[in-house]
């Protein structure tokens, strides 16, 4: 019934403009839209403002490649496979990257506010921390809270008290996240755009609903009439989705519940290369710029490795890949 939303990865990335505020599906190193991220680097996107509940390997790639000007998040790293975001740390110190720190609850509430169409939400998380220190307002310090960009709030926080129940202690208002684009990797999408996520849904619903434009990459595009047989299992209605792309393994090296495992070895290798800019550049040359497409990238990784990562159909993760030290 709906108009044809199907796009190639290249076409989908053309929907993203330089300077856009961007967010993503997933959590740290799980279900990140890597196929799109690699193509963003190939298309040399610039001055992006990443706003994420938490970041991870995908953020480190975009930051290392110089696509990112601002990162608003609570965390960046690679979990067990790389303890910090080395590209972000280097570019923060060189002044190329502005990092705005919020806590995890602050960020999820910012996205919930964006998703619900209100300018802020109240919370009581992380009182007494330097996250709330007015001197550590990075966007403010860089003069970006002057109202000229309507997506950047004029303050980092507001402090209030409760007039309803006479409760003591501060309430913090956190401003809505209002990204231009959300790029999501999910397990299944219907032909009209209905989104189904298997396993933990992280902050996907809030990220998608907060954004003005939504690009969904799925392991599989499935018949809309099939995905609608159990609408309670679906996360996002088709009318909120602008573009759909089918890309099996499209979240590699991050993991995808029910489909494949995190490729820890690949991420650990990436992390080790990111300790210098030269190291990252060489990695990006090899894994992004010298390969023309995600299919070519998969070919380079090889069937043997991918098949080891493939999830057991009962457990929903791989029982064959070696994970330990």
């Amino acid at each position: 019934m709906a108009k044809n939303k199907r796009k190639s990865i290249k076409e989908a990335v053309q929907l993203i403009n330089d300077g856009d505020m961007i967010t993503f599906s997933g959590f740290t190193i799980w279900r990140r839209p890597m196929a799109i991220v690699y193509e963003m680097v190939r298309q040399r996107k610039k001055n992006l403002h990443l706003i994420e509940v938490n970041s991870g390997t995908h953020g480190e790639i975009l930051i290392g490649a110089g696509c990112v000007k601002v990162l608003e998040t609570c965390w960046i790293g690679h979990e067990l496979y790389g303890k910090v975001g080395a590209n972000a740390a280097r570019k923060l110190k060189s002044g190329e990257l502005i990092v705005e720190d919020y806590s995890h609850v602050h960020m999820i509430m910012r996205f919930a506010a964006g998703a619900m169409g209100v300018p802020y939400l109240p919370t009581r998380a992380s009182l007494g921390t330097d996250i709330l220190n007015p001197e550590y307002d990075a966007l403010g310090k860089h003069g970006l809270r002057d109202g000229s960009n309507p997506r950047i709030p004029r303050r980092k926080f507001e402090f209030l008290t409760d007039p309803f129940f006479g409760e003591q202690g501060d309430i913090i208002h956190v401003p809505a996240a209002r990204p231009n684009v959300c790029i999501a990797h999910v397990q299944q999408v219907g032909e009209e755009g209905t989104v189904r996520v298997y396993g933990q849904r992280y902050s996907d619903a809030e990220a998608i609903k907060a954004a003005d434009k939504v690009i969904v990459v799925a392991e599989e595009i499935v018949p809309e009439e099939v995905i609608r047989q159990d609408p309670t299992a679906n996360l996002i209605p088709h009318y909120l989705v602008d573009a759909i792309v089918e890309q099996p393994w499209g979240a590699h090296p991050t993991g995808c519940f029910g489909y494949y495992e995190v490729d820890g070895k690949f991420i650990r290798d990436f992390y080790s290369k990111t300790k210098t800019q030269e190291g990252f550049d060489a990695w990006a040359e090899e894994w992004i710029l010298k390969v023309n497409s995600f299919d070519e990238y998969l070919y380079k990784i090889g069937f043997r490795r991918l098949d080891l990562l493939r999830a057991n159909s009962s457990y929903k993760y791989s029982t064959r890949v070696k994970r330990g030290a």
Binding site: T28, W30, A89, D101, S103, D130, S203
Partner: protein, 272 residues
């Protein structure tokens, strides 16, 4: 034949195993525990298999009381939600946390000060141009500030145990009240949502607790083979050692068996 529940001897266990066991002993049966990645997972899983079978674990990516068949490598891992009561997302679990459901938080940190303020953001230099930039807060300050008790598990080094941390990522017993920045007690900062705070810091050398009046850290037990003097030499502030109760209880053979053969046979956190 030695009793499975008798204590193992120094040399028969690794430090990380001792930490997991010390962590597990902080958990009361039936509690709702909010745990971070790594050692906290070992501690909570061990407790569920020994003294606290009815404890429930929440992981911040969205799983509630999972019963993993294999140890998760991070909170977003599919293994967390195996046989969980509910698997959903961040808004659900953080909402429950803020609502007051969580009894105990299990967290890590890079630096800590004598009031239990923890830093996982920047070390050295200036906030905007730090010597070391770390991951940022994650859910650490949220979980610590909204649970009824928090246990931190950390590496013990003098440079990590400071008079004052470079950046307060996660709040201890004396904190600054923003936006003004005046020092207040944790109770004053949290007002109506004050539920408690850090109760223990388990490190590679000792277990520390906090004075109820002053909010200052004191030495509770030293790990087998570690002296009080060793600990003092690895703390960057004046440490109260007068209340030291002696040695941290070592793992039992049964606990070591569970950790090595049942909980982390892949050596994900225990190593090979």
């Amino acid at each position: 034949m030695r009793n499975n529940h008798s204590p193992a001897q120094p040399g028969e266990y690794k430090l990380i195993e001792l930490l997991a066991v010390a962590g597990a002993r902080e958990i009361q049966d039936g509690e709702v525990v909010f745990a971070g990645t790594g050692l906290p997972m070992l501690a909570v899983t061990l407790a569920q298999k020994t003294s606290a079978p009815r404890a429930s674990i929440i992981y911040e990516a969205g799983s509630m009381d999972g019963r993993p068949a294999h140890l998760p490598s991070s909170v977003g891992d599919a293994r967390c939600e195996y046989r969980a009561s509910v698997s959903s997302g961040l808004l659900d679990v953080f909402g429950q946390l803020q609502r007051g459901v969580v009894d105990l938080a299990f967290l890590g940190g890079a630096e800590i000060d004598k009031y239990g303020n923890v830093n996982t953001t920047v070390i050295g230099g200036d906030y905007y141009n730090p010597a070391v930039r770390l991951t940022g807060s994650g859910g650490n300050p949220d979980i610590n500030s909204l649970a009824k008790r928090t246990v931190f598990i950390m590496v013990q080094e003098k440079r990590r145990f400071k008079e004052q941390v470079d950046y307060v990522t996660s709040p201890g017993w004396r904190v600054k009240k923003w936006p003004g920045g005046e020092w207040v007690t944790r109770q004053e900062a949290f007002g109506s949502v004050f539920r408690g705070g850090p109760v223990a810091v388990i490190t590679s050398m000792a277990v520390f607790r906090f004075d109820e009046e002053t909010g200052e850290m004191y030495l509770d037990t030293v790990h087998p083979g570690v002296t009080v003097e060793d600990v003092k030499n690895n703390v960057g502030f004046d440490l109260d050692v007068s209340r030291c109760r002696g040695e941290t209880s070592p793992p039992t053979y049964h606990e070591l068996h569970l950790l090595r053969n049942v909980i982390d046979p892949e050596g994900l956190f225990l190593g090979s």
